[in-house]
């Protein structure tokens, strides 16, 4: 009865206690440590860092542990922590050309300076459950090769030399920070890329896939995909020059897309770009496809009216912390709204059923 809406406080405390117990699971099984998650669930850690917009493998591992493996919940924990941190400044742009690549492949050239380096990829594994992993085996030992050394230049730079691909315009404009300023539409490309890199992997993937299936085709080739560590430098005002403050692992994808041109202008390939924290190549490729699709106006393409071309649709729905919050909030109480709907529907039904005791017009009620 009426008491049903009372007791919220006790119910919350009890729910939290139960949750804590469920999180730990069977105590006869050894507890998972944060370093174990960081080392052995590294791709989950990468995803949480990328979508949480915070590069800290230990905190991401902690968030995964605390969230019982619910990665969106873990992303949310990271964001809520990140938001409390002061922003001291911005780093210099990272030089991905100088990346220490663990993986570097091109789908457009069979061989190229810097070579094709597969790195630690699932790509050519056979997806057969490895039951040996169920037993606790020896740590696998991989023979260490000799790094090829030498520079690993960007593939698009080769094309650029011939003028085959559009110039990536340099700009000294300070990009807006979507975590510190409200999103403004229409958005600059820098802001779009920012939103995409922290966007939900599933959403970004689905949209990119839709462009491949014909909803805004851009005919993308993976010009290059590279994963590795880059140095982050920051200019310290007191010093007047930039110093390295750490390294981050990044995944970068550059797509080479179909050209445009006209009778007077020779055709050129166009670019799509993806850059994501950690080893997150599905996300980086997806991001570069959507980036390219969103550039339709700038490149003078037709509006096909597809979702991946609709900047507002893409940017306003890519954030999984926003999306999950609003989606799940419908389980909160809505007694008041629903009550007013009840009043309304009864009244409309009364009128529709021609209750002659009611006026055809809405009547003033005593409450007013």
């Amino acid at each position: 009865m009426y008491v049903a809406v009372k007791g919220g406080e006790r119910a919350i405390d009890a729910a939290h206690a139960w949750l804590a117990e469920e999180r730990r699971g069977d105590t006869a099984v050894a507890e998972l440590s944060v370093p174990q998650i960081r080392e052995q669930l590294a791709l989950a850690v990468n995803r949480v860092m990328a979508e949480g917009s915070l590069y800290d493998p230990d905190l991401a591992a902690l968030a995964i542990k605390q969230s019982r493996g619910d990665l969106i919940e873990a992303v949310f924990l990271m964001r809520a922590y990140r938001t409390t941190l002061p922003r001291f400044g911005a780093s210099e742009p990272v030089d991905t050309g100088a990346m220490a690549c663990d993986r570097r492949i091109s789908a457009t050239f069979k061989d190229l300076p810097g070579g094709q380096v597969l790195g630690p990829t699932f790509d050519y594994t056979h997806r057969l459950l490895d039951f040996a992993l169920m037993a606790e085996g020896e740590a696998p030992i991989t023979a260490e090769g000799v790094p090829a050394g030498g520079p690993v230049p960007h593939v698009t730079a080769f094309l650029n030399r011939e003028g085959l691909i559009e110039e990536a315009m340099e700009s000294d404009v300070v990009p807006p920070d979507l975590t510190r300023e409200p999103m403004e539409l229409p958005a600059s490309r820098a802001l779009r890329l920012q939103a995409l890199t922290r966007g939900d992997e599933g959403f970004v993937l689905g949209l990119a896939y839709s462009t491949q299936r014909g909803y805004g085709r851009t005919h993308a080739f993976v010009g290059e995909l590279r994963i590795g560590a880059v140095e982050v430098e920051m200019e310290i005002p007191e010093l007047g020059f930039a110093i390295p403050i750490g390294t981050v692992r990044l995944t970068e994808c550059e797509t080479v897309n179909q050209f445009k041109g006209s009778r007077t202008e020779p055709p050129q390939f166009t670019r799509g770009y993806g850059l994501v924290f950690g080893q997150s190549e599905r996300k980086a490729i997806s991001m570069s496809l959507i980036d390219r699709a969103l550039r339709w106006k700038e490149l003078g393409e037709d509006d096909a009216g597809v979702p991946a071309q609709d900047e507002e649709f893409v940017l306003m729905h890519a954030d999984n912390v926003q999306a999950t919050g609003f989606l799940e909030h419908i389980k909160l109480p809505h007694y008041v709204d629903f009550q007013s709907e009840l009043e309304l529907i009864r009244k409309l039904r009364r009128e529709a059923m021609g209750d002659s005791s009611q006026d055809a017009h809405p009547t003033q009620e005593a409450a007013e």
Partner: protein
Amino acid sequence: MSDYNFAYLDEQTKRMIRRAILKGLAVPGYQVPFASREMPMPYGWGTGGVQVTAAIMVPEDRLKVIDQGADDTTNAVSIRKFFQRTAGVAVTERTAEATVIQTRHRIPEVPLTGGQILVYQVPIPEPLRFLEPSEIETRRMHALEDYGLMHVKLYEDIARHGAIATSYAYPVKVEGRYVMDPSPIPKFDNPKMEMDAIQLFGAGREQRIYALPPHTRVVSLDFEDFPFEASKADHACALCGAADSYLDEVITDDAGGRMFVCSDTDFCAGRRTGEVAA
């Protein structure tokens, strides 16, 4: 919680939010974009309201939090606890004793007074959103005071149903200029929006703040021949007997039994103890 600043947000963020609030108060009903932060509760749980409350709160405040009119609903409990932990402010369930009231979907029955601040949690701040999905378009429509679409919608309601088929989040016009979403309060509460207290509206996920200074003219949209009506269940409260308060319908058994009780639990309790005049 000494690891966090007073009321959770850092002072720079609070200043940014206060600037948005001041702009909102200067242009009543206008949706001011602000750089909403992630909060430790999910979007949809009142992050906009919580940020506004955190930004205006001072240690001397006495906070009341209601959800659906009640102090004891789970989310109200959770938000109240959040501010007890992060700000250590006094809390109350009494409307008259509170300096700041954060609310989801109701305005208290007891009239608020000057010096009090009512903070609304807002899910969709844009009253035109369901008529026009594009933010670029709706901002243009507000700028040009182009509200024809809204009147057409209300007219179509009347043509189809014989009445305006909006019962909560009923759109209002503020000082004859901006059409504003009052948040999903029942339209019963709309006339109360012309009040002595400051009203602040925070939409976290949508990154918007808007405001009504005291005594602002707030008119619910209607037509001369179909005037706005503030409706409620045609009953009296089964607990306190109030005939003029908004009522929740409570199902009492599975044979169709039900009772109607005040949605505003503090008002109802006050009437039963005689503290609120009948």
